[in-house]
């Protein structure tokens, strides 16, 4: 926080000079109604900032705001922004510097980082960086306070003598980003032998129960208020600065200049302490995102108290069953979404995969390449497959991408079982059919498909159960479903919330399998039962 007033002044000046059109437009802002979409990454702070921006815009304009929260990591949310699936989210200068712009050199001061990133985004992506919120959320390495004291570790360099003994558990994004572990390791010559990827929501518990020694964290992490954690000093200045600011599609700002003006009111209004306190309220005090965001905006004088609505009542004191019961309405809606995604995907898969399976029995030469190809799809990690769908035209963020990914997963069991089921039909029966004068269509529909029903249905059941499971990941690309409370619960380290998604998802898988079993009994011709 050195030299902060100067930095702040320069940002304001530079912004005014570099984006006069945006500012000018802002003054003559046409308050016509419209609709914008605000996205967020899948962690508390980013989601909370999204909610703050959303409420501010709702309070001061007539624009309708749609929230697309928890959109996977940086890659997912940024490709959504470039596609126009979302209009804005909040980004960090250091992230933009290393991830989107791919700059390897990380020693840069805050102002230069901000100006460079803002200029490049405008030029290369048509995306505008508004003025920063004011806080800086840097990556850090951290250890248990007592353990660090015993080993005499204060800086990252102090880890070097212990690199063979220490166990590190870092978030997956940190594990792979150039401004994360790979760059850090290179800059310090650090090679921690026992290094693994770990969901950040679980990291503190892991350190507390002495499963790991070193974790990654960030300046404004709310949990730093609860756990006795020592932040290790970045003594070689490896981490770039991470100022957070709204990033907005420039065409959105042109269309709704008032958005730039309204969000400008957030500039330098959230400092490190405030951000950490807000994160803490959401993660450890059970505050809802909307409630915490509104309280902040009211206390900062950015919106009127009167606009505030009543927060939803959730029962956390009566144990899990009571909690689940208090969320029954939401859960029912999520189950509906979940079933919708799964059902559409599996139905489409049946419509495509059964004819393909039949086709393969008639063109044997294609069977192994095609089965191989749909098999390969199944080896793609679910989250990656979901992310691949986003840039595809007509898919984008949300249900359509999720359905496309689930559909691709569902293909293999149905294609394979259709092919096998038809191949397994007794050749004597087929010859009897041909010999009596059935044509190939009649043989297919009167003999092969009915006789293969059981095998084909087994494939459909497998696909459906897989889809119900994979659909929990659809929440990462904004498609909703029972993954929503799981993802949010992981962020908040809220076991009840995780279970309120996981338990219904598991029950749903069992129920669907049972119902399909009944349906199979109904479908399989009686003479075969």
């Amino acid at each position: 926080m050195k030299g902060r007033p100067m930095y702040r002044l320069w940002v304001v000046v530079a912004w005014a000079v570099m984006w006069p059109p945006a500012l000018a437009a802002a003054q003559e802002g046409d308050p016509g109604a419209g609709r914008i979409v605000i996205g967020s990454k899948n962690f508390t702070e980013n989601r909370l900032l999204g909610e703050i921006m959303a409420q501010l815009i709702e309070a001061h304009t007539d624009i309708q705001v749609e929230r697309r929260v928890n959109l996977g990591g940086t890659t997912v949310v940024f490709s959504a922004l470039r596609n126009g699936e979302i209009d804005m989210y909040s980004e960090y200068t250091g992230t933009a510097w290393t991830v989107q712009l791919g700059i390897a050199e990380t020693a840069v001061d805050r102002l230069r980082a901000y100006l460079h990133v803002a200029g490049e985004f405008e030029r290369r992506f048509g995306v505008t960086w508004l003025q920063p919120f004011g806080f800086e959320n840097s990556y850090e390495l951290a250890m248990d306070e007592a353990a660090a004291e015993t080993m005499g570790i204060r800086t990252i360099s102090d880890l070097l003598p212990y690199e063979d003994r220490l166990r590190a558990g870092v978030s997956h994004e940190f594990l792979n980003r150039d401004d994360g572990y790979p760059g850090l390791a290179a800059a310090y010559g650090l090679e921690i032998r026992d290094l693994r990827g770990l969901e950040h929501g679980l990291a503190y518990e892991a350190i507390l129960s002495d499963r790991i020694d070193v974790i990654d964290t960030w300046t404004t992490d709310g949990k730093l208020r609860v756990y006795d954690i020592r932040i290790l000093e970045d003594d070689r200045g490896f981490f770039p600065p991470y100022d957070s600011a709204p990033v907005v599609r420039s065409d959105t700002l042109e269309r709704y200049p008032e958005v730039g003006e309204v969000l400008g009111r957030l500039a330098f209004r959230i400092d490190n302490e405030t951000m950490q306190a807000l994160n803490y309220r959401v993660e450890d005090q059970g505050g809802g995102f909307d409630e915490v965001a509104r309280d902040f905006l009211v206390s900062a004088g950015l919106v009127d108290d009167a606009a505030a609505a009543e927060p939803a009542v959730v029962d956390r004191d009566g144990g899990f069953p009571a909690f689940l019961w208090s969320r029954r309405g939401q859960t029912a809606r999520l189950v509906g979404q979940h079933l919708g995604l799964t059902a559409i995907a599996v139905l489409l898969a049946v419509v495509v995969a059964v004819p393909v399976g039949v086709g393969l029995t008639r063109r044997e030469a294609l069977a192994s390449p095609v089965l191989g190809a749909v098999g390969v799809i199944q080896t793609i990690p679910s989250l990656a497959l979901l992310a691949f769908m986003i840039p595809i035209p007509l898919l984008g963020l949300g249900a359509r991408s999720a359905i496309a990914a689930l559909f691709l997963y569902a293909l293999l069991p149905i294609v394979r079982n259709t092919y096998t089921g038809i191949k397994e039909v007794d050749p004597d029966l087929l010859e009897a059919g041909r010999g009596m004068g059935l044509d190939s269509r009649q043989i297919l529909f009167k003999l092969q498909l009915p006789l293969a029903t059981r095998t084909i249905m087994a494939g459909v059941r497998t696909s459906t159960v897989i889809s119900v499971g994979v659909a929990t990941l659809a929440a990462f690309i904004g498609a909703g479903g029972l993954g929503d409370p799981i993802v949010t619960g992981l962020q908040l380290n809220d076991t009840y919330l995780i279970l309120s998604g996981a338990v219904p998802a598991a029950l749903l898988a069992l129920a669907v399998d049972f119902l399909l079993g009944r349906f199979e009994t109904f479908l399989v011709p009686r003479g075969l039962a």
């Binding site: 009897a432 010999g435 009596m436 004068g437 044509d439 009167k446 009686r526």
Partner: protein
């Protein structure tokens, strides 16, 4: 009338010179006649039969059905003129007896009522009480009952020709004797030009009007029972008669 004219079939396996299954086979089956086609396994009798309904295409010669070369006819309508019965009955396990029998009527777009009437007629014809059997599934039938249903199914469209591939071979001797008798009676009521493939000489004598004995793809002797008993054409015919007349069920 079915005419075989110098019909040959050579199977070409990759890497071999080809196996001659049927070798210049010539024979005429008269209208309404039942021809017993007999021989040891692998002699080419089943192949010869399947050339008629083009489940197998010949590599030489011609087969004429009432004067028309089978290869010039549409294969589907050809097969619907030829009833086809195979050893295990070939009943479709997912269909009831009634649906098995009525399947060709069903795909021929008969009305449900017409199909029901026809199925009852056919079940009566093969001595299976319709009320008892129409709604059963093949797995609930004995071997003999399955063969009766198989025959009824082959007769559904009242085809002028029948091909029967060892239809009674898998039955126990008692059922077989009974069904032989029924079949002999049935044959008198519905005159079909029939090729009956069998390896059982006694069956052939009982059911066929004339018998053709094949060996290694060739026709060895054609005639009635007396011709074979009194004037065997070759030593092979004598041997065959001796070993195949009193075998009962101890074969296959």
């Amino acid at each position: 009338m079915i005419e075989f004219a110098e019909v040959s079939k050579t199977f070409h396996d990759p890497g071999s010179d080809g196996i001659v299954a049927v070798d210049r086979f010539s024979l005429t089956v008269a209208a309404g006649e039942t021809l017993g086609l007999i021989g040891t396994s692998g002699c080419g009798k089943t192949t010869t039969m399947k050339l008629v309904n083009r489940l197998i295409e010949p590599t030489g010669g011609r087969i004429l059905l009432d004067g028309q070369d089978v290869r010039e006819l549409d294969v589907i309508s050809l097969r619907r003129r030829i009833g086809y019965v195979i050893q295990t009955g070939g009943l479709f396990p997912h269909m009831t007896v009634a649906r098995n029998i009525g399947l060709l009527c069903e795909v021929g777009n008969w009305t449900a009522g017409d199909i029901r009437v026809r199925v009852r007629e056919l079940l009566d014809l093969v001595n299976l009480p319709p009320d008892d059997f129409a709604d059963r599934y093949p797995r609930d039938l004995s071997g003999g009952q399955r063969q009766r249903v198989g025959v009824a199914r082959a007769l559904a469209l009242d085809p002028p020709f029948m091909l029967m591939d060892e239809p009674f071979a898998a039955l126990d001797p008692i059922s077989r004797d009974k069904i032989h008798e029924e079949f002999a009676q049935l044959k008198e009521r519905v005159r079909k030009t029939t090729v009956l493939v069998t390896h059982d000489m006694a069956e052939a004598f009982k059911l066929a009007d004339r018998i053709a004995l094949m060996h290694k793809g060739r026709l060895v002797q054609v005639g009635v029972e007396d011709d074979f008993r009194e004037r065997p054409a070759t030593p092979f015919v004598e041997d065959f008669l001796r070993s195949h007349l009193h075998e009962g069920a101890a074969d296959v």
